[in-house]
């Protein structure tokens, strides 16, 4: 009945020395190291965020996030009040504000967004909570003035 153990690539014992990440891409001379900043679940920030690396947020933030060339992930515990500009935006937590994805926006099943989405590709998982607009029209058209002027009024939480 017992299945004979197959040769394993991983070992339960702690590694004796720092091991290189097996999935890490080969490093080149160019500065291609993918940095990701993480804002932990106990952190509360009031103010705008900008930078040049990917960002994952599990905490609370009131303010604008602007990382137009990078990925932004709002984790399950993340709560954002403000607009978000990113290359790829993934929302698993809660956002009250407009989302501008240069390439793509993903709203996970656990995510809630009260605001408008502007991105050429949008994926909203069934069960996610969203009320607002989705603008997938070509950038030159949408860049003029997305309909975010009027705040979203939420009559009843769902």
């Amino acid at each position: 009945m017992w299945k004979k153990s197959e040769p394993e690539e991983t070992h339960p014992q702690p590694a004796p020395a720092p091991m290189p990440q097996p999935v890490a891409p080969p490093r080149s001379a160019a500065p291609a190291v993918k940095e990701q900043a993480v804002i932990g679940s106990t952190i509360y920030i009031k103010g705008d965020l900008t930078g040049e690396e990917d960002l994952s947020i599990e905490g609370r933030l009131e303010g604008k996030i602007e990382l137009r060339r990078h990925s932004i992930t709002i984790g399950k515990n993340g709560r954002i009040k403000g607009d978000i500009y990113g290359k790829m935006i993934t929302v698993e937590g809660t956002v009250e504000g407009n989302l501008y994805g240069e390439e793509q926006l993903i709203l996970r099943q656990s995510g809630t967004v009260r605001g408008n989405i502007v991105a050429p590709r949008v994926a909203l998982e069934d069960g996610s909570n969203f009320k607002g607009s989705i603008d997938m029209s070509p950038k030159d058209k949408s860049a003029a003035a997305p309909a975010q002027d009027k705040p979203i009024i939420v009559p009843k939480a769902t």
């Binding site: 408008n116 590709r121 949008v122 994926a123 909203l124 998982e125 069934d126 996610s128 969203f130 009320k131 607002g132 607009s133 989705i134 603008d135 997938m136 029209s137 070509p138 058209k141 949408s142 003029a144 003035a145 997305p146 309909a147 975010q148 002027d149 009027k150 979203i152 009024i153 939420v154 009559p155 009843k156 769902t158």
Partner: protein
């Protein structure tokens, strides 16, 4: 005839959706007002038209059926606060309104009130797509419609309970939907009539 909601999603043909898609192929833009909830597959489906979609999800904010005083009472019908319920951004005109089966859960005065409000946000020629039940009973709650393909809808029933169906008749609908003409209608085998109402008004909401 599907009179009893099935607990599992059921796929039905949708000639109305097919007709709508054909119209959109030639449309200059695609500004969609979705009165139902967000559906991943639907957003994906519409993405081929590079759309602007506003998801109003009235199901979550409107008490349904919309209360209307009985005819024998003198009390007036109190119009829902559509401004608050829909929260539509100003200055945007839609050329598609997806009402799905919502109108079945409203008496005609409420339908009239909603349509009157929506006209302010419709471009001339806008299409309102709706499914009207023509059977004695209908699902107790609004059904979610997933787009399976250009000519099929997936009915995702929220409940297996049933309620009496108002059976809005074409003529009555035509009256309450002033300035909308019936551009297409399709009677399906499942007891649903799909309507494409076209807005004939000249009011132009300034599309962005």
């Amino acid at each position: 005839m599907v009179t009893k909601p099935h607990p599992e999603p059921v796929v039905h043909a949708s000639l109305g959706l097919q007709s709508l898609c054909e119209r959109l192929q030639n449309a200059a833009g695609c500004d969609i007002l979705e009165l139902g909830p967000v559906r991943s597959g639907n957003v994906q489906f519409w993405s081929r038209f590079s759309p602007y979609i506003y998801i109003a999800d009235l199901r979550s904010s409107l008490p349904l059926p919309v209360p209307v005083p009985p005819p024998e009472e003198d009390s007036e019908f109190v119009e829902p606060d559509w401004d608050q319920l829909l929260a539509l951004p100003e200055g945007r005109g839609y050329n598609v309104v997806l009402a799905w089966d919502l109108l079945n859960y409203m008496e005609l005065p409420a339908v009239s009130s909603l349509v009157k409000y929506l006209k302010k946000f419709c471009q001339p020629g806008a299409i309102l797509f709706t499914l009207i039940f023509d059977q004695k009973q209908m699902p107790d709650e609004i059904t979610i419609y997933g787009i399976a393909d250009e000519s099929h809808l997936r009915y995702e029933y929220a409940t297996s309970d049933m309620r009496a169906c108002p059976r809005h008749q074409p003529r009555a609908l035509g009256i309450v939907m002033s300035q909308f003409r019936t551009a297409d209608s399709f009677r399906l085998r499942n007891g649903v009539v799909e309507y494409l109402f076209e807005y004939e008004g000249t009011h132009t909401a300034s599309a962005v």
